[in-house]
């Protein structure tokens, strides 16, 4: 067994963990644990990027791994922790659909994305080609989480987790986007989170709660 074979197996393992974490986020009721899970997802993402970089010798992937580490393991969770401390929202998350049903929908989504990714994976020449389906599943699961949560903070974590899935798709299908694009995306994510932080304060000042069900006044009658 060659070394690269082990690397391949290791990436598969990390991808499986990533998918597992997406499901864990889907089923998690507590906001603090949700942030920790997001942090874990970032760490797995960083590890998988490093492994891909080791296997393929693409040196710019080390830089994207570094960006991931700084942004998704340290900076964003720190901002989110600070935010919920300042906003004092530690209560349990309410879901719009109960959790077992959400899980079942999640399984359907995973099967769907594996099917969708199959023809493309066969075209990919990268060692990590089988992972595109997992990446797509992560994106869709995060999307599902955004739909089923009624509070603003979990929705944003869902949004950020979706970006994790996209990042994983980029590394697994193409060994990462060009550096300038990756920097731009990282900047957008960071600025977006900060703007949302500002925004949360505005929402809470107005409604004295972060329940986005208050935000349902604008409708077509």
């Amino acid at each position: 067994m060659s070394l690269s074979h082990y690397y391949g197996q290791f990436i598969n393992l990390l991808a499986a963990i990533l998918l597992l974490l997406s499901f864990a986020m889907l089923g998690q009721r507590r906001i603090l644990s949700l942030i920790n899970l997001f942090m874990a997802q970032g760490a797995v993402l960083c590890a998988s990027t490093v492994v891909v970089a080791l296997t393929t010798g693409q040196s710019h992937l080390y830089w994207s791994a570094l960006i991931t580490l700084v942004l998704k393991v340290f900076l964003l969770p720190w901002i989110l922790h600070r935010l919920i401390r300042r906003l004092n929202v530690k209560w349990d998350v309410e879901t719009l659909i109960n959790i077992p049903t959400t899980m079942l929908i999640g399984i359907v989504l995973v099967i769907f994305s594996f099917n969708l990714a199959l023809p493309i994976s066969e075209l990919a020449g990268t060692v990590t080609r089988s992972l595109l389906g997992i990446a797509m599943a992560c994106v869709l699961l995060a999307f599902l989480m955004m739909i089923t949560r009624s509070k603003a903070v979990p929705q944003v974590i869902g949004f950020l987790s979706m970006e994790n899935g996209l990042f994983f798709a980029a590394t697994s299908a193409t060994y990462g986007m060009p550096m300038v694009v990756e920097l731009g995306i990282a900047l957008d994510v960071l600025v977006g989170t900060i703007i949302l932080g500002v925004f949360f304060f505005q929402i809470r000042e107005k409604f004295e709660s972060l329940d986005i069900r208050h935000l349902e006044q604008l409708k077509e009658d």
Binding site: Y175, L187, I212
Partner: protein, 482 residues
């Protein structure tokens, strides 16, 4: 040099206004920066007229017949909007709806928004295009919630989440595009450059490209406001300050559509089928019909014109989807005249709502009695947007409709009915607002009505006579859009 200025001035303006924007003269500084951007855009356009298409900075940026007039248009509408926003924002400030801190936010974000749009238009890199589109959302989110009312917060939240999710789909599409391109162009920055992709588009993997285009269309289509992804648009337009509505409607939708068309050109080349065109026609037609029927149910004037934007974007998307030199020519012309007319209407609407203190149409009456310029501005703008000859919208809609009759006859009844419904609903509502009795208040600052009439004059001119180089660009751009 001209090119550097086009991007550099609004960026600098954003920073300067963020630092000093709370000063008394911020509104004028905003105008100066917008005017300088406009001058730089004129200089750039002149250079392109003389020297032909160009690429800048290691091919990272490019100007071709398709984006050159959009750059000029964006800079121009940005400038006139800043002229309009000077009295408008001062009146809002005097009425106590805005503090100086929020005005500073507004001015700074306005300039940065201009920067992101110009960046999206001129970049050659499909990845940077995505980054700029997302940045355009980010700069305008806080502008939509500028009044901090519960409705505006809701609109901004919806705008952020829906456009954020939409644009995430576009990122996935971009990743797939890169995946397809990397095999031909090798790894690295070159594989996402549009000009390089365009050169090899015939060899791009068709399965990947068709999937990529679906994601790109849904993603950027959310920002264009195509039905059924349009939910954020009426709210964001109605609840934000009017200058923001004017630039969102007049410029941002155009830029998003520009992104879709760039992707369509590549997909068409790779697929040798009409998949991309058919999808665009479907989305476009659905938007036209649904928006037209929503128009008749609106009570809020800004909401109504927001739905009208959905309708017109639908027409342009349909035209580009149909393809062919005439339809694409019509689409490009329609983009230009819609952008000019709609921003002019929002300028007039902005002052009309300030005078009556409400956006509800049933409480706005007799604009003509109080202020003939506002009343005529709104009336002429409405006639122009409804496609009355001799305005330019008539010319472009006529081109699109006649081509549709020849190429896609099944679609013409839908288009005609939708245009008829839109005419009846908008005209029926605007007429009593303009004519009739009223009890409106006077404003502390003189309204800026010059931009309205300059825009309408340009639309009128485009209806009667299109400058030869502009027609030439349209033709060249239409040729490669296909």
């Amino acid at each position: 040099m001209e090119f550097l200025l086009v991007l550099g001035i609004p960026l600098l303006g954003g920073i300067v206004l963020a630092l000093f924007g709370h000063r008394q003269r911020a509104t004028e500084v905003n105008i100066v920066f917008s005017f300088l951007t406009f001058l730089a855009a004129i200089a750039l356009t002149k250079r392109i007229i003389d020297g032909g298409p160009e690429r800048f900075y290691d091919e990272q940026f490019f100007i071709d017949p398709f984006n050159v007039f959009l750059v000029a248009l964006t800079a121009f509408v940005g400038f006139t909007t800043s002229v309009f926003s000077r009295p408008y924002m001062r009146i809002e400030h005097d009425h106590g709806r805005l503090t100086s801190g929020r005005l500073r936010l507004y001015h700074s974000m306005f300039q940065l928004f201009m920067f992101t749009m110009l960046l999206a238009l001129t970049t050659n890199n499909m990845g940077i295009l995505w980054v700029a589109m997302e940045a355009a959302t980010l700069t305008t989110v806080l502008l939509v919630s500028l009044y901090r009312t519960s409705a505006s917060l809701e609109a901004a939240w919806k705008y952020f989440i829906l456009c954020g999710v939409g644009i995430a789909q576009a990122l996935f599409g971009t990743i797939l595009l890169y995946f397809a391109a990397e095999k031909l162009l090798g790894h690295g920055g070159g594989a996402l450059l549009w000009t390089h992709l365009d050169a090899v588009k015939g060899q791009l993997e068709p399965t990947v490209m068709s999937l990529a285009f679906v994601f790109l269309l849904v993603g950027y289509g959310t920002k264009v406001g195509l039905v059924p992804l349009h939910n954020w648009l009426p709210d964001a337009h109605a609840e934000g300050p009017t200058p923001v509505s004017a630039v969102l409607s007049g410029l941002l939708l155009n830029v998003a559509l520009y992104a879709v068309v760039r992707c369509k050109v590549l997909t068409d080349g790779a697929l040798h089928s009409t998949l991309a065109g058919t999808l665009m026609m479907g989305f476009g037609l659905l938007s036209v019909v649904v928006a037209a029927f929503f128009l008749s149910r609106q009570k809020d004037i800004k909401r109504m014109f927001a739905y009208s934007s959905v309708e017109h974007m639908g027409i342009v998307t349909f035209a580009f989807g149909m393809g062919g030199p005439v339809a694409s020519f019509g689409g490009l012309l329609h983009m230009t005249v819609h952008s000019l007319t709609k921003s002019a209407i929002f300028f007039a609407v902005g002052h009309a709502t300030q005078k009556s203190g409400t956006q509800l149409m049933e409480h706005i009456r007799g604009l003509l009695k109080i202020s003939p310029t506002i009343g005529w501005g709104l009336m002429l703008g409405t006639l122009a947007i409804l496609g009355m000859p001799p305005f330019g919208v008539f010319a472009s809609e006529f081109l699109i409709l006649t081509t549709a009759m020849r190429q896609q006859p099944w679609a013409t009844p839908f288009l005609l009915v939708a245009l008829g419904v839109a005419f009846a609903s908008i005209f029926g509502k605007v007429q009593p607002m303009v004519f009739g009795e009223s009890s409106l208040r006077t404003l502390p600052h003189k309204p800026a009505m010059l931009p309205v009439f300059v825009h309408l004059a340009l639309v009128l001119m485009l209806g009667l006579w299109i400058p030869p180089y502009l027609a030439d660009w349209y033709r060249q751009a239409a040729r490669f859009i296909g």
